[in-house]
Amino acid sequence: MDQVLINILNGISAGLLLFMLSSGLTLIFSMMGVLNFAHTSFYMVGAYLAYSMSQAVGFWPAFLVAPLVVGVMGAVFERYALRKVHKFGHVPELLVTFGLSYVVLEVVKLVWGLSNVPFSPPEVLQGSAFTVMQSSETGLGLMLGAAPKALCVGNDTVKLACSTFPAARFFIMAVAVVMLLFLWLLLTRTRIGLVIQAALTHPEMVEALGHNVPRVLMLVFGSGCALAGLAGVIGGMTFITEPSMAAIVGSIVFVVVVVGGMGSLAGAFVGSLVIGLLQTLPLTVDHSLADAARSLGWAVTPQTFGYPFLKITLSQAAPILPYLLLVLILIFRPKGLLGTRED
């Protein structure tokens, strides 16, 4: 039970990290109609920049400054490349971000090398956030920080098991939730948020009222990239900072956006959590369809038809589950879980 709880928390933290990426992607998509293929490239740049900065000035300043730098890079890219191809239509816009993803990947390899860099969380975040204790007598218990060894050793009568939850993952959840709140307040409670929302649906009217819509778009693109950069900082320190990190997350983020519904922020949130859990939970299940059939009393041997398929365990199949979900969603609910667009 304790392990299941920890796994669910792991899944939620992975999902929240995905949401930090997919929210920016969705905002940019719904406002500009641009699918930013290089979104996870900004995620990677955020991680690498934070690594270099934390070497020089320590982690916390880097944690604040690196996303801002990434945001400025995104805004500059929007101003000088994306706006140029806007008149050619949506496909060249997508292609220019596709080209950028190639260039960013190569520049990252050029500057930081082909292998991963040792980017680890600061000491505060290195331990465990809390420990879940499972005892056969008292049930579940919770303890802040790492539980002392003595508490986790059971005896003949009482069985005890402890599972810890890493502080870095807890930090991901905290940052994502704070950011989510901030984003929601910004979009619904401030003047700039109202302008953004209005520019979403009635750009001409907003322009007629005297707002500089292209500049608003640049701001949104930059902020989306800054969010990706922030996700990169906390994702990079928790997982591995390597040149392939953009590609690994990249296709998953697109699955999230399609599954949640194109252009829907709430959909992106639900989609992120679903995909996060779907990526994490099956990893612990080491059973296959063949095992399931055997437990039902059917004889499954290597000679059975389709045995190569049946013998794949759920943990082996985990990488394809998000994509299978994508295909199923498209067949049964083409507009996505919470989407409204039917095109």
Binding site: L35, H90, L95, F98, G99, L110, F254, M262, V327, P334
Partner: protein, 434 residues
């Protein structure tokens, strides 16, 4: 006699001489190319070019003709490759009797089948959503290739032997030259078939779906079915390219269905020019040159490629094909003579920028990858000290100077180009009024 019949009787259809010449020259080129470049290296390059031409043209059936941007088209050529190599192995084992020359068709049918299966899902959407779904489907198949080593051969891939069965007229497909001519025949026939496809009613309505899907719906066509049919046709030809690749390399690994291959198709078809039928042929030739030659010359080739692609999207979204066609138009009006000096200036200053920038990139790569081999980099026959300040200063100076001069040359060129275009427009109007 009805009016329709009289119309048919007087219908005049002139022989399209230009088209016959172009297709004749294409056939001639395919035949004599290996007789010009006789080295073994040239032959492997030419074989790969033939395969790439089929794959890129197949990809352009959906990108250029249908406006569908796919990030996962290697799936269909790749699965075609796998089915073809399995067929080849069955034939070697004596379980199946099929001539090697028909194995690419097996690949094509496999491509068609998987395009039918997966295309049903992907073509439900168009535009940006379509692009994202193809990316997901591509990842799905690629992850499957790691999970099913029985079919995909795991890390090592599946190898085969193309010398199967009795020789027919002395053709065993052992020597590379025989494989080349098999590829050339397939390349010619499929190119002709794909060109013919653009002239069919389906090909025409596909263009309409690309340009104005809403209106096509009003006319009474189901755009989803049109996209689906075009997608399947594209999958068929991509599968043929995959089957030929299986025969050519006698080895198929999981990476043929991977995202890198799909990305390369997109990149080079666009560089070649998606708006013209012959654009992808240029793209395919560039692709083989880049993958085989450029990657030998420099480690940073993907960086250069990405930058070229970025600038192409920003300044010439029609690719090389559109650049050629625009200059052909200028030449047809006899005004190319006025432009060639500015072209020379652009080329000279552009090369200066390239030399400066490339020197810096190569030095950085050298410091990053093989710093243990000493600080010296060989760059265009000159030895540069990658740790020395003077080399860096020289490279940066060259680049900045190049950029400034290029900007001047570009402004002058822009003015002349606009003026030429204006004169051409006037000339066209004048001829119309005659």
């Amino acid at each position: 006699m009805t009016i329709d019949e009289t119309r048919a009787a007087v219908h005049f259809k002139p022989l399209n001489v230009g088209r016959w010449i172009v297709w004749g020259l294409f056939a001639l080129l395919l035949i004599v190319a290996p007789l010009w470049w006789t080295s073994g290296f040239a032959l492997t390059m030419l074989s790969q070019m033939g395969i790439a031409i089929i794959a890129c043209l197949a990809y352009n059936m959906i990108l250029g003709q249908g406006g569908m941007l796919s990030f996962g088209h290697a799936v269909y050529s790749g699965l075609g490759s796998f089915l073809a190599i399995h067929t080849l192995n069955l034939a070697s084992a004596g379980k199946l009797s099929i001539p090697v020359s028909l194995v690419p068709l097996v690949g094509g049918l496999a491509g068609l089948f998987f395009a039918f299966l997966l295309g049903y899902v992907t073509t439900k959407k168009s535009g940006t959503t379509f692009a994202m779904i193809t990316l997901g489907v591509g990842e799905l198949v690629w992850s499957m290739s790691l999970m099913l080593p029985e079919f995909f051969g795991g890390e090592g891939g599946i190898s085969g032997n193309r010398v199967v069965g009795d020789p027919f007229l002395g053709i065993t497909f052992g020597p590379q030259i025989q494989v080349y001519y098999l590829i050339a025949v397939y390349c010619y026939i499929t190119t002709a078939a794909m060109f013919a496809f653009t002239r069919t009613p389906l090909g025409r309505i596909l263009n309409a779906v690309r340009d104005n899907p809403e209106r096509v719906e009003f006319v009474g066509y189901n755009t989803q079915i049109v996209r689906f049919l075009a997608f399947m046709a594209s999958g068929f030809f991509a599968g043929i390219a995959g089957g030929l690749a299986a025969i050519n390399f006698e080895l198929v690994t999981g990476e043929v269905v991977g995202a890198h291959r799909s990305g390369a198709y997109l990149l080079f078809v666009f560089l070649g020019g998606a708006t013209f039928f012959f654009g992808p042929i240029i793209g395919a030739i560039l692709m083989v040159i880049a993958l085989v030659l450029l990657s030998e010359w420099t480690k940073a080739w993907l960086l250069y490629l990405g930058l070229v692609f970025l600038f192409m999207v920003m300044y010439a979204p029609g690719g090389f094909a559109s650049l050629i066609m625009m200059n052909l138009r200028v030449a047809a009006f006899g005004k190319l003579r006025r432009l060639w000096t500015s072209y020379l200036a652009l080329l000279g200053t552009g090369l200066t920028v390239l030399v400066g920038g490339a020197a810096m990139v190569e030095m950085t790569y050298h410091l990053q990858m093989n710093a243990a081999m000493g600080p010296d980099v060989r760059f265009m026959g000159v030895k540069l000290d990658a740790t020395g300040l003077d080399a860096w200063f020289g490279a940066a100076f060259t680049m900045v100077l190049g950029i400034v001069l290029f900007e001047f040359a570009r402004r002058a060129f822009r003015q002349e180009w606009d003026q030429t275009q204006e004169e051409i427009e006037k000339e066209i109007k004048r001829r119309e009024s005659l």
